[in-house]
Symmetry: C2
Subunit: 270 residues, 2 copies
DNA sequence: GTCCTTGAAG
DNA sequence: CTTCAAGGAC
């Protein structure tokens, strides 16, 4: 088990942003990079560009047009087979073994605008997906597996994970029905929410800022949608580096032609 | 009447290619630049970018989505009012006075695939437009006006204006019904086809290469679709500079993200 | 191939 | 605001 740097980034089209990723990788030097919303088919993944960044191992689960996840790694990846946690098989989840860790990469549905599953099928899909994730990790908890879950969960769970708790309680991503479902998953696997283990609960932390805001930085109406969670079996490795081992690269949101998400990074101990 | 450099370029989206135009203008330094297929509404024309290129005078006739023509000039333009030569008012024609010349900028319809007006309304539209142009300049011939006509005529009139005369006789842009209609317009105003006045008739001359060709340069299946015509009253000014005063910038077709048309330039005498 | 529009999705 | 997908045009 060597130490390594794990990153998660909703890239919002990996083909369009391979050069942006290269820029960032040259600064952040992640060993294992989990991407969401790659928005391409497997064969369209720009593997060559990633090879030039130093990645040699890939696990891509894409589809045409929407969604899609991928892992690029400098360490070998062991394919564990797909569990198909997404009820609709929309290329929203993948898992691999890497350096003794069972790594799950998620792109949980955004869920549409209306936070009512009775009238919004997208929201119902999101909640159904969350239920399935909970059942899956509940069923596996007895094994005490070395799980790390990362990705764009599309939920900002805590008060200071959004710019205004009060104003967002009825906005999809921060409604009680979502944050409670996410908390049930967390408890099902006894996962540590790494960011909140390392950063005080009353400190604002965001990883996403809407494209729609005129000045994302000035308005700073962000949300923490991107997460890294560690199961008890890897809790120590995940938290070993302390506060300095964790970083959300907020500045990247201000780069040329950015994703609306910032990359989230954790140095994991050996 | 000062001498000036006149250019015509089908730019295939002026918003997308304003940087390309700036690159080219910095090399070619045209005084009056006639554009076709600007593909934007008047208020969307990137005037600021053109001001930075040194143009101070504009006459834009655009519409949403398709077609559209524009003139950017370093010399004052006098608006002559629109004649609406296009039967459908599709922003395919404009005219101005500049340095003693009545300048007409045309984007004649491509005409679709099938060269039969009975079954192809696009082709019928093209022929109808040509008829109207002929009637217009016939009616004005007696004035002996100082006319210069430029633009994308979407017709390659002569044998060596296409890569294969024989193979293109049934291809829209080089069919006899089109080349004859264009010749009637030419004769109606006794226009000089500047390129062919200066370049021998048996020399291949192209201004357009399809995007569809794998290697436009190697295949070199071009067509001369872009023209500069001078009426008798300005014939001497137009031809004063001789062969060196005329240039089609073929290389520009090979630049990054090019238009499928190359810019055509004529130095006009004072 | 490349562009524009529309509509869905975020 | 930004992405992708159709469909139409060239």
């Amino acid at each position: 088990m060597t130490a390594f740097t794990l990153a998660s980034w909703n890239i919002n089209s990996v083909r369009l942003r391979a050069p942006l990723v290269a820029d960032w990788v040259s600064q952040a030097d992640p060993d294992v990079l989990c991407l969401q919303e790659i928005k391409c088919q497997n064969e369209q993944f720009p593997e060559e560009a990633f090879r030039e960044m130093g990645f040699r191992h890939f696990h891509v689960r894409g589809q045409k047009g929407m969604h899609g996840v991928a892992i690029a790694s400098k360490f070998p990846l062991e394919d564990l087979g797909d569990e198909d946690l997404c009820p609709r098989a929309e290329a929203r989840h993948q898992r691999v073994m890497v350096e003794g860790i069972e790594l799950h990469n998620f792109y949980i549905p955004a869920g549409g605008d209306e936070p009512d599953p009775a009238i919004n099928p997208r929201f119902a899909h999101k909640l159904g997906f969350l239920d399935r994730i909970e059942a899956y990790f509940k069923a596996r908890a007895a094994e005490n597996p070395p799980l790390v879950l990362v990705g764009d969960f599309n939920i900002a769970p805590y008060e200071h994970d959004v710019w205004s708790h009060k104003q967002l309680l009825k906005v999809v991503s921060h409604t009680p029905v979502e944050t409670e479902a996410l908390e049930r998953i967390r408890q099902a696997g006894d996962f540590a929410d790494v960011a909140r283990e390392l950063i005080p609960m009353d400190e604002k932390v965001y990883s996403w800022w809407s494209y729609r805001a005129r000045d994302w930085k000035k308005a700073n109406r962000g949300r923490r949608l991107d997460h890294i969670w560690a199961a008890p079996a890897v809790r120590e490795r995940a938290l070993a580096g302390g506060r300095d081992a964790f970083r959300i690269w907020e500045d990247v949101r201000g780069w040329e032609k950015p994703s609306d998400h910032a990359p989230v990074v954790l140095r994991i101990g050996g």
